[in-house]
């Protein structure tokens, strides 16, 4: 399965200021791409553009060599996006939250898989509590359980390490590396320093570094 996300001459303007300009990206299977930059440098905006949520930008996106407009359906069927907000309903239990995501992603309804996913993120025993009673870190883990539950090639993760304890961070980092090794692809912003790995690549945003791809 090929996997290639490209951006050509990406530019985005906010409040009469260029967040980035002439940004060229080429992201392949097996890569972990970390988007870096100070606060307000447009990391989240870039991730939203690359995950097809924002339309207000200049430049072209290509998915597997085709313009994004034409392959949007196929792109979305391969994408797993985790935003700033975890997307977890406080009034629903972790199991119910995952059931909706499973159906939304078009996966078969599989309770065993949901239990397994929650176990993988360390939420054994919390499956049937309303998510609102869980801590922020646990809620974030419910969101991360989607990575286990829904097999998608391209992960776009906006600050996935937020509110997670040290063990969780290590497990998630290992998970990202494993995903890349299996031929998946990870696009991530984080303030947490990722350990060096051959799969890791960095993109720096911010003043003066608008087209630097280190």
């Amino acid at each position: 399965m090929s996997l290639r996300l490209q951006a050509r001459k990406l530019a985005c303007e906010r409040d009469d200021r260029w967040l980035f300009k002439d940004l060229d990206l080429d992201i392949h299977a097996g890569e972990i791409v970390r988007v870096e930059g100070p606060n307000g440098s447009g990391k989240t905006t870039l991730l939203k553009i690359l995950s097809g949520q924002l339309a207000d930008f200049d430049g072209e996106l290509y998915w597997n060599e085709h313009p994004m407009r034409r392959t949007r359906q196929d792109f979305l069927a391969n994408l797993l996006y985790l935003g700033h907000a975890p997307g977890v309903k406080a009034a629903l239990t972790p199991l119910e939250n995952l059931a909706w995501y499973q159906a939304l992603a078009g996966e078969p309804d599989d309770e065993a898989a949901r239990f397994a996913a929650l176990a993988a993120v360390g939420l054994v025993g919390f499956e049937d509590l309303p998510a609102g009673q869980l801590s922020a870190g646990q809620q974030r883990r419910v969101a991360l359980a989607r990575l286990e539950l829904i097999p998608r090639a391209l992960w776009v993760l906006d600050e996935p390490f937020t509110a997670i304890d040290r063990d969780g961070v290590a497990a998630l980092e290992a998970r990202l590396v494993a995903h890349a090794r299996r031929g998946g692809c990870v696009l991530v912003t984080t303030h947490h320093e990722l350990a060096d790995s051959p799969a890791l690549r960095r993109i720096r945003l911010g003043q003066g570094a608008r087209d630097a791809e280190l």
């Binding site: 009034a91 939304l104 078969p108």
Partner: protein, 247 residues
């Protein structure tokens, strides 16, 4: 050792790991319906508040105008319809707001399934737990306003039909304002003018029933308005949600 070629193994692994989604849009729509129903049933106050508001507003009128049953009977159809319309409007602001705030809305927008259909599922739940209960409750309040006999069934039916259009039209406004912090008042400004045709024919149906005229024409027009709203509103809601997620 079979499959010693790591590249080959990776290829096969990738295919089995990242297969295309199997379930269709129907599964996603059903799951969304179920999720929203469960959510609203767990926060019952959100379901009950519009009903209490409806009863409260209706109570204000005899106090503010006159307890004279004859006077109340003449204005009852309009009062009931206006109060039900405002009660339905009251609950609209929360239609997409909690999803917007906890991030589920962006997940909904990134689903590979058609967004208009998913949005329609959410609106359907809103109608089922707001419009329909209001319609069922209206006859009781009709008694309190001395609504003439023979118009009760038409009142409930016209409200049930009309409130479905109100939910659909109102959802466009809710989707447009969901990203705005002070969206609530703006929502009323956007939506109320668009409610006028439904109000005219809904209240007209009850009036016609009181005068003993045929109500079929009114109900047919309410049905036609609903059909138009059903065809066009989901697309407008979907487009509006995509705009709102941009901030």
């Amino acid at each position: 050792m079979p499959n010693s070629d790591p590249h080959l193994a990776r290829e096969r692994d990738a295919v089995s790991l990242f297969g295309e989604p199997e379930g269709g849009a129907g599964v996603a729509i059903r799951a969304t319906l179920k999720r929203d129903l469960v959510l609203l049933m767990r926060r019952r106050s959100e379901v009950l508040n519009p009903l209490v508001f409806f009863a409260l507003v209706i109570t204000l009128f005899p106090i503010g105008i006159s307890p004279d049953p004859e006077l109340l009977a003449t204005i009852a159809p309009g009062l009931l319809w206006v109060a039900a319309l405002l009660a339905a409007l009251l609950s609209l602001d929360s239609l997409f707001r909690s999803d917007y705030e906890d991030g589920s809305l962006e997940q909904l927008l990134l689903s590979p399934h058609p967004l208009p259909a998913l949005a329609l599922a959410k609106v359907a739940v809103h109608w089922l737990l707001t419009g329909l209960p209001l319609a069922l409750m209206a006859p009781v309040l009709g008694i309190m306003l001395a609504l003439p006999a023979g118009s009760y069934a038409v009142l409930a039916l016209s409200l049930a039909l009309g409130s479905a259009s109100l939910s659909l039209i109102g959802a466009i406004g809710a989707a447009l304002t969901v990203g705005l912090s002070r969206g609530g008042v703006l929502l009323s400004l956007l939506v109320l003018p668009l409610y006028i045709p439904v109000l005219i024919f809904g209240a007209g149906a009850v009036q016609a029933a009181i005068f003993g005229e045929g109500v079929a024409a009114h109900l047919a027009i309410l049905g036609a308005l609903l059909a138009v709203a059903l065809i066009l509103a989901p697309w407008a809601i979907a487009a509006s949600l995509r705009i709102s997620i941009n901030g």
